[in-house]
């Protein structure tokens, strides 16, 4: 069973001066899995990714990637993995082609040798191969960075926030590429602050404040939602929010997309009770709509539990 895991992380701790970036993190990622690490800035995502990709040493704990202890034998693990840092860190004054050739030669290979592996992505930027990296659009830079991370045909990819600050269209294109790489057997770990990207992963770890709140498939995380969730549709969001804040048993009240979500302990607040309350308050032009909790509702509930605990 053990060798089905591409990544094993055990009790990982990392501290900077006064900040505990990682507080005993443990997780496993299976071979061929598309695994998402989801959380806001400061959750510890980048520290975790740097340690897993052998760029940073942990204070304590174990990290094993493809059967290799990363902290001891980093040289051999680096040949088998590709890493894309959160900030664009290619050479701005080299062209697309020159950047890729540089990365290939570092790994003692060539673009030609690996052309098939990156063809799907490279073909999208190939027409501009003479253009300097600094002059590319955000979406093209992202594709170039991915080509550079893939040019030595790694078995596993670590992508640290590849879609942050990228518009919704480029994001969805990027995820299509990841799905394609997954189909070809690649193990992929990707971090993101966008909760809606969770549904595109096989499994996700929800991270906050150096801890993992939950690890599972997106469906199982939402199935495990332990509260009752009601949604209200209204154009008077400000007044509605203020009014709902006074409602007993409404543990959490927050805007969510076009609706307002009202969270309560199971059995504590029924549809009828909510309707009566809002009528008594004299609220007009609203309706209660059926919604199922999504990953973000779960994240909010887990965060709240943690603060309360």
């Amino acid at each position: 069973m053990e060798n089905q895991n591409a990544v094993i992380v055990k009790n990982l701790v990392k501290t900077y001066a006064h900040v505990e970036a990682l507080k005993e993190i443990s997780l496993n990622v299976k071979k061929g899995e598309l695994f998402g690490v989801i959380g806001p800035d400061g959750a510890g995502k980048t520290s975790l990714f740097r340690i897993m990709s052998s760029l940073l040493l942990p204070d304590s704990g174990e990290v094993n990637v493809l059967g290799i202890d990363v902290t001891r034998d980093y040289a051999s693990v680096r040949k088998k993995m590709g890493y894309m840092p959160g900030r664009f860190s290619l050479y701005q004054d080299l062209s697309i082609e020159e950047n890729i050739n540089l990365f290939a030669s570092i790994y003692d290979t060539t673009l030609e040798e690996n052309y098939e592996n990156i063809r799907y992505i490279y073909s999208q930027i190939e027409p501009f191969r003479k253009r300097r990296a600094g002059a590319l659009s955000g979406g093209m830079k992202q594709k170039l960075a991915l080509c550079c991370a893939l040019v030595h045909s790694p078995e596993i990819l670590f992508l640290d926030e590849p879609t942050t600050g990228v518009d919704a269209v480029s994001r969805s294109e990027f995820w299509e590429i990841l799905q394609m790489l997954k189909k070809r057997g690649m193990t992929i770990l990707v971090s993101t602050p966008y909760m809606d990207e969770a549904s595109l992963c096989d499994r996700v770890a929800l991270m906050q404040d150096g801890r993992i709140l939950s690890v599972d498939t997106p469906a199982k995380i939402t199935d495990a939602y332990a509260y009752s969730l009601l949604a209200i549709k209204t154009n008077e969001k400000y007044n509605m929010l203020s009014s709902l804040r006074m409602l007993e048993h409404a543990t959490l009240v927050y805007p969510f997309g076009e609706n307002i979500h009202v969270v309560s302990d199971k059995g504590k607040l029924t549809n009828e009770e909510l309707t009566k309350y809002l009528n008594d308050q004299g609220m007009e032009n609203w309706e209660i709509v059926e919604v199922a909790p999504d990953i973000e509702d779960c994240f909010i509930a887990l965060m709240n539990q943690h603060v309360a605990a």
Binding site: P40, D167, D196, F256
Partner: protein, 241 residues
């Protein structure tokens, strides 16, 4: 009845032969939360700079808070607040010093910024940390403080450029409630975001593609027009036809 506070007609900005903003027209009403969306490189930042008096347009017409973007840029700057994810407050000043600094820049008198500053600190619950350096505050707190300071001088309009990037989902929503409150108090909010669920929080929206405004309506209206359920789908349909 509806007073428009921003009126834009065929506004264009050219850099050499490149049209960064290509004849856009739109209208924002007073007290409205207006979502200004678009793909990376579509021209949002250039358009925002023109509307906030930081960049002269090439051609077209635009009035912001009653002032002309060609001739009255300084009056515009005084009538607006601005906050972005990248540039907000000074990390090596304390909370109080930041308030004093920005109060001074926006021309508030000592008594005004003191009173307003105290109210602000109380409302955000920052009483115990007001003497702390900004860099010691969590990101979410910084963003909330930055927004409060951006409206300290009671501007008519506040421009928010991706104000919630990277912020956790609870703080992100608290931030939006502050936006609702500001709008409720009559401040017009002009906001950009990459979170499509936040597009739903806006009263009306425009979407820019290649320098042009390609969609312009309420979130409800746009979803209906494109026959989809979420703003994310609208965005993808508009930006990738």
């Amino acid at each position: 009845m509806s007073n428009s506070i921003i009126e834009v007609e065929n506004l264009t900005k050219r850099f050499g032969t490149f049209k960064a903003v290509d004849s856009i027209s739109l209208e924002v009403k007073q007290g409205e939360i207006f979502g200004f969306l678009g793909a990376n490189g579509a021209g949002k930042t250039t358009a925002m700079k023109m509307l906030s008096g930081l960049l002269s347009p090439t051609s077209g017409k635009a009035m912001v808070a009653g002032f002309d973007v060609f001739k009255q840029q300084n009056q515009i700057k005084k009538s607006i607040g601005y906050m972005s994810q990248r540039f907000s407050l000074y990390d090596d000043l304390t909370i109080k010093e930041n308030i004093r600094f920005y109060g001074g820049i926006y021309g508030l008198k000592r008594k005004q910024w003191k009173e307003k500053g105290e109210r602000l600190i109380k409302r955000l619950g920052l009483d115990e940390v007001e003497g702390k350096l900004l860099k010691d505050l969590p990101l979410g707190w910084k963003q909330k403080l930055a927004f409060s300071i951006a409206i300290l001088h009671d501007p008519k309009i506040v421009f928010l450029d991706e104000p919630t990037g990277g912020v956790d989902p609870i703080t992100r929503r608290q931030f939006w409630e502050m936006i609702y409150e500001a709008a409720h108090d009559g401040i017009t909010v002009f906001v950009t975001t990459h979170y499509m669920d936040e597009a739903e929080y806006c009263d009306r929206i425009s979407m820019m593609v290649d320098g042009r405004v390609e969609a312009y309506d309420t979130p409800e209206g746009l979803k209906k027009k494109y026959g989809v359920k979420t703003m994310n789908e609208v965005f993808i349909k508009v930006a990738r036809p």
